[in-house]
Amino acid sequence: MELPLKGIIVLEFCQYLSGPSAGLRLADLGARVIKIERPEIGEAGRSLSIKNLWVGSDSLLFHTINRNKESYTANLKNAEELAAIKQLIKHAHIITHNFRPGVMEKSGLGYEAVKAINPGIIYAEVSGYGKNGPWKDLPGQDLLIQAISGLTYTTGNANQSPIPFGISIADMICGEHLVQGILASLIRKAKKGVGAHIEVSLLESLLDFQFELLTTYFASNKQPERSLINNGNPLLSAPYGIYQTKDGYIAIAMVNLLQLAEAIESDALAKAAVKNPFEYRDDIKQICADHLLTNTSQHWLNKLHAIDLWAIEVLDWQKLTTLPAYQQLQIEQVIAIDEQQKIITTRCPIRINGERLLSNKSAPLLGADTEKIKQEFQIA
């Protein structure tokens, strides 16, 4: 199958997660993504490891985010190397960067300068907080954006501190939005021949992510309230949440309380089920919590599934990855680093014409493709 972005060239002036995760998606959809990196050090993500896991000189984290890309090194402060980059820009369709506002302009690669070199370019940038206002120069770091955006009051129970999401949600969601803006502009470019300037910020992306909660807040003028017992989503009524059983945990989503009471044989819940499930959310959830502790997860799931109530066992990765249903998805792919070393990572979540999008190309060594790219585009 010919991938949809075959022939598209992306120059990625990005570091860490937000911009590079967007580049990874474009690469998996068929684009050729060239990371533009500082000589010697390269992208900062190369030296950022988690659990001290490394693949040669680069972190496993870098390999996860930057597989299926090429690397070109250039010192943007060196006039000759900058001139070479400008030559390369003539051949590119897309540029992405996630420097703080003003940095690319100082390098001579702001949107206006790049547009003058290549009028059809799609120039896409990520910032922390946009380019205006008192926050524009603050560091665009995931946890800090979560903290400012109100997100941490959605998760955990009402008697806990604000609880951040345990994944870099602002970076991830902003990367998704960057891809959307770029692809929409590519369609317009194919039809009208015009380029585009795309801007997203971590803060705006995280506010959009909370659009249901914020719209409800605007209409009610009331803060979202986490439930005291087993909070699942502050907008939702009892019993929505995760419950401990005798031997594990089960999740129960939106269900009819009377049906639930009957399924789990709880008289106390049957009595409470006539109450408003929003107003008496915690009382009702406490009754469920006490009752569900008395038997095993499988016992309850059998009863709930017998009448099609929405519930499931809470799994960890060890259990999940051993199940046939997980293995049938084939979400994992193997990347050969060299003849000795392989790593396992996830693939692109999109399928096209029924086919999974796989790529076994590993992340590039720093500058691995510089000479090849110079020759290919006849850059002096």
Partner: protein
């Protein structure tokens, strides 16, 4: 000019995953027509998912479906199905999020639709993929968070598995299908070829965990261990997390522990000179910090941290956020009007194109509000209406 202005999308999806994808397409200029059952419409109109209502429908429906049209059709009625097929001939995109097998039974499988319109981009969202043991399970957000391992990443180690309090599986699957649709529309624009594209919520949530689960895959399947004190990310060292102060909460991102001790005059931290200990002894270090930070208010600490360039922020709730000049400066709020004349405040599209924010003033449609207008526009010359 918005980039998708000539694109017509027929959206058969319900709830959040599919509708959030078409909301993005609408905001970037596409015409999005919701195809809804005449009785009740999109289940999200009625399902009581928030106790705040606007015009008898949940605030959530209004947030997700602004800037769209509504066409009422009973797909089990042959006349209505024939009209839908005529609309599909003229559409660029079709999206649905029925469970596997349903759309085929309704007579609108990819094979059927492709025969009507070979260039169409046919997009599907499922819970767990269209084959495999779990294909018939309900694709519901909390349940996907729970099976995917995601709930073991948030909150402190001594707490139960904790779901994220926003429907993250729905929203990510929606983001991914919109990307798939856009990539396929690009291919169509340059080659005329249509495509079938699909995502599942489970694959989308696994992708969301890609940084961390790749560690798990390659490190002997060791499960994540959340920090016992103020967990921010199970894989990150001290001080990463949120701390209570005498007044308000403070978020501290990654940084040098000894330097942090100096900035905050927290002498207990000066002993941790070995950077490797910042991970292995993170709970001990974070406890020292927590004990110290509770003695003064957040503004006091933030002043010191920002002066030293250390990554920190005050934690806001929605009241504190929306009152701040920084929030006002990004102009995130949007007012839309329903055809009943009601004005609703919501948030806008987060993508800026050519220096402009993308605004739309049209509120969510009433059920079937545009059926006649769409018939007149797209089916007027056709005998089906005679």
């Amino acid at each position: 000019m918005k980039p998708l202005e000539d694109i017509v999308v027929l959206d058969f999806s319900q709830f959040l995953s599919g509708p959030s994808a078409t909301l993005r397409l609408a905001d970037m200029g596409a015409t999005v027509i919701k195809i809804e059952r005449p009785e009740g419409g999109d289940i999200c109109r009625q399902l009581y998912v928030s106790d705040v209502m606007i015009e008898g429908e949940s605030t959530i429906f209004h947030a997700i479906n602004r800037n769209k049209q509504s066409y009422a059709a009973d797909l089990k009625n042959p006349d209505d199905l024939a009209k839908i097929k005529l609309l599909l001939q003229q559409a660029d995109v079709m999206l649905h999020n029925f469970r596997p097998g349903v759309i085929e039974r309704l007579g609108l499988s990819y094979e059927v639709v492709k025969a009507i319109n070979p260039g169409i981009v046919y997009a599907e969202i499922s819970g767990y993929g269209s084959d495999g043991d779990w294909k018939h399970l309900p694709g519901q957000d909390l349940l996907l968070q729970s099976v995917s391992g995601l709930t073991w990443l948030t909150n402190n180690q001594n707490e139960s598995p904790t779901p994220m309090g926003v429907s993250v599986a729905d929203i990510l699957a929606g983001a991914h299908i919109s990307q798939a649709i856009l990539a396929a529309l690009y291919k169509k624009a340059i080659s005329g070829q249509g495509s079938q594209v699909s995502v599942s919520m489970l694959e989308s949530v696994m992708n969301f965990q890609f940084e961390l689960i790749t560690c798990f895959y390659n490190d002997g399947n060791e499960l994540p261990v959340r920090s016992a004190v103020n967990n921010g990310n199970a894989y990150l060292q001290a001080p990463y997390g949120i701390y209570a102060t005498q007044e308000g909460f403070l978020a501290l991102a990654m940084g040098d522990i000894v330097q942090l001790g100096n900035i905050l005059d927290c002498t207990a931290l000066s002993a941790y000179t070995n950077a490797a200990d910042w991970f292995t002894l993170r709970d001990e270090i974070k406890s020292h910090l927590a004990d110290h930070l509770i003695t003064k208010d957040a503004a006091y600490w933030l002043g010191k941290l920002q002066a030293a360039g250390y990554w920190a922020a005050k934690v806001f709730n929605y009241d504190q956020l929306t009152e701040h000049e920084g929030y006002k400066a990004i102009n995130m709020e949007l007012f839309v009007n329903t055809s009943n004349g009601l004005q609703i405040k919501t948030t806008r599209c987060p993508i800026k194109i050519d220096g402009e924010i993308l605004l739309a003033t049209k509120g969510a449609p009433l059920l079937g509000e545009h059926t006649d207008a769409i018939n007149n526009k797209y089916l007027a010359q056709n005998e089906v209406l005679s």
